[in-house]
Amino acid sequence: MSDTHAHSVAFVRETAIPPAPPPATEAGVIGWMRQNLFATWANALLTVVAIYFVYLLLTGTLPWILGGLWNTDSLAECREILQGKNAACFSVLTERWNQLLFGFKYPDEFYWRPGIAFILLFLAAAPVLFFDLPRKLLLFTAIYPFLAFWLIWGGTVWNPVFAALGFIAGYVVFDLYGKQNFAAGFFGGIVAAFVVWFLAGYIVPAIAPEQPVLEAVQSRDMGGFMLNMILGVVCVSLSLPLGIALALGRQSSMPLIKWICVVFIEFIRGVPLITLLFVANVVLAYFLPPGTTFDLILRVIIMITMFASAYIAEVIRGGLAALPKGQYEAADSLGLDYAQAMRLIVLPQALKISIPGIVNVSVGLFKDTTLVSIITMFDLVGMIRGPILASTEWNGVYWELFSFAAVLFFITCYGISQYSQWLERRLTTDHR
């Protein structure tokens, strides 16, 4: 048939026509703009409004930022040079750089100590955050808290050493007995750690040298962004285990344990952080043995940790609830006891589900560390509102300082949330 047909017509095309390029209005930059910026009349109008808004934003801020001065000694001098021009006096940042970062009482010859602790923080956090790295690095992570404490606070090296020894003793005991009976190993470990710390209370003063290698710095001398970092890192890391314990307690079948956890969590979540900081500042002292003086920074760490652990507990409870019941039953049917089932089956999956929530709480907590400025601690915001804005040289330089604080917090928090999104993509095991 086809043959006869082929002979009866003058021309039959035997190959397909190559696809024509799309019309110029549908491809390339123009096509993209038509689709994404000017699809409809309303859309075009929106685009124009948005462009105008961006224009206003840029013309308002760019000259101010680009024309900024970086090397004057006071606001008056800066204003004199600018002569009414709309530009920033960033010199407050260069001049008060150390105060913004370390507070105004931290001895300036020791700035290198928190500096090194800050750099080492990344090294210590890396194996926790990126699990492609060799696991041996976790050893440094374990050492880091004691090293960082020693670097920032100084004093005799035996304090952190004995603190670490306590943990090691606890771990050894747990390793010996925990295999047979988790509870026995766990509580035995705690007892062993406390025994070591109790002994350290007698040993350390005896062997501490007169002149320690690193001179001691008082807690009340901490300040600036360093204080925000200390509070954020310490409280997040402490509240994670506490939050897991609270979440498990809330799921517990033992009514008393369950109700203790419920009351604690709901109470903490029901009140603002600022009232807990008031408790740390003015009330907590009433509940301690008469005559004890207690670092304000330690009291604040206790309260913020309690605060964060309640929120983390709720996040983890969500993760535990999201786990299919079959997982719990499968663990039971394998004959695992409660501790094994939780450690090996339930918690790894539940924690994975709750990672985004935990990161959200951590970011929120890090932002909330600025609240300590209200109880007269000189963190970054406290430094700006207190010593710097009140000084004669820089009284009235407002935007530069708060923009700096905002940028610093933005970089940190945005970085953490980007990491969490990356991790979420990494951990996805379902096939989509």
Binding site: P255, T275, A285, Y398, F410
Partner: protein, 406 residues
């Protein structure tokens, strides 16, 4: 064949408290109870010892003493001779005021930004995600201070509005933006004004009645009554009619540039701290709400929209009848917890000197009387009551909205 017998009854041994699953939980609970009681006893004995040493006792009688300080933004009558309790009430009302204001504006802002984040327009989408990221990642305390700074540093003093020939005219003849706050006209409720207000409330009820009647008619008979303009007419016309029939009983008290040489008189002054707190809480929480709204809309699967379109519904009805009811189920629980966050974050008022409950009871009253325990306890109790009642409402709502399955 051996008969099945009961296993031999074990007699109770002490080691069973740890090793037997039946008794172990009792052991743990007993230990927990003992620990709890001893911790509380320890704290309590310390408290007693400390109070005795300081010659104090727990008493709330200080609430009746004159407060002795002034508050410049109050909703109820208050002067420096009023008792501390009255100051606390002023604080509570101020907290609720700023919380309600911020909830409303944050919701509007959040819904707006959340919907625009899903826009087809690339530029608008990017702008809105910029807004969300910037405001979510910077502490709200810094936002409060920045906005407070914008008001107090950048706006002019009230002086520029004063005199016969002021440097600046009042905006629209009724608003003045100064570094102490914004002056707005105050309504004066003349005789008969309550009738106007009453009419307005009745028209609101009538509007809802009309809408539910129209809906019922539509579902029963398929007859479609117009919804938009009749509702508007029912809402506005009777009130305006009554207003003029009664002889315009409500008048406005404008800020007057001529009444005083040093400050604006007349109208209501909305103080700079209130505005700063309100705006900061709105834009900060608005960014979070935008994310909730976006997640809620994305949670409604595309098949729903397409199915509704296949049934022949118009886009507006698809939104109202199909997408929104399903999206709201996802949006509302986190939205309510954002409201809770606003209420709790309003305690940052103390940073800019707005007299909320934290600043009055937890700030000045505490410092003046030295009654730290009582003040902080009352403060926590107030926030707890608010939080728990909002959670209770949320639980009721969640149960009502739960997907009815099997």
């Amino acid at each position: 064949m051996t008969a099945l017998t009961d296993p031999p009854r074990e007699s109770f041994r002490l080691s069973m408290l740890i090793n037997d699953k039946r008794y172990r939980s009792l052991t743990f609970q007993a230990i927990a109870l003992i620990l709890l009681i001893s911790v509380f006893a320890y704290l309590g004995s310390n408290l007693m010892a400390n109070l005795a040493a300081a010659g104090l006792n727990i008493s709330y009688s200080f609430l009746g003493d004159p407060a002795g300080y002034d508050i410049n933004q109050t909703l109820i009558p208050y002067d420096s001779q009023s008792p501390h309790l009255q100051a606390a009430w002023v604080g509570i009302l101020n907290t609720l005021l700023v919380a309600v204001l911020a909830c409303v504006s944050a919701t509007i802002l959040g819904v707006f930004a959340g919907v625009l984040r899903l826009s087809n327009n690339w530029l608008v989408r990017k702008l809105m995600s910029g807004y969300v990221e910037i405001f979510r990642n910077i502490p709200v305390l810094i936002w409060i201070l920045i906005i407070y700074g914008i008001i107090t540093v950048s706006l002019p003093g009230a002086r520029v509005y004063l005199g016969e020939d002021p440097q600046r005219e009042l905006v629209l003849g009724m608003f003045a933006f100064t570094n102490r706050g914004i002056y707005v006209p105050a309504p004066i409720w003349g005789p008969g004004s309550m009738i106007v207000v009453g009419t307005f409330f009745v028209s609101i009820a009538a509007m809802f009645a009309y809408r539910s009647y129209a809906k019922k008619l539509l579902f029963n008979t398929g007859k479609l009554l117009p919804m938009g303009w009749p509702s508007l007419v029912i809402l506005i016309v009777p009130t305006i009619l009554v207003f003029f029939v009664m002889g315009q009983p409500i008048t406005l008290d404008m800020p007057d540039p001529l009444a005083n040489r040093f400050n604006l008189r007349g109208g209501i002054q909305i103080g700079a701290p209130l505005i700063a707190l309100w705006l900061a809480l709105s834009v900060y929480t608005g960014a979070f709400i935008a994310e909730n709204v976006r997640a809620g809309i994305l949670a409604v699967s595309k098949g729903q929209t397409e199915a509704a379109a296949a049934l022949g519904l118009r886009p507006g009805r698809i939104m109202n009848l199909v997408v929104l009811p399903q999206a709201l189920r996802v949006i509302i629980p986190p939205l309510i917890s954002q409201y809770l966050n606003i209420t709790k974050n309003s305690s940052l008022a103390i940073a800019v000197g707005y007299a909320d409950i934290t600043a009055t009871l937890g700030g000045i009253t505490l410092n003046q009387t030295g009654r730290a325990i009582e003040c902080v306890l009352l403060l926590m109790l107030f926030y707890l009551v608010i939080s728990l009642s909002i959670s209770a409402v949320m639980n009721v709502y969640n149960n009502a909205m739960k997907l009815k399955e099997r």
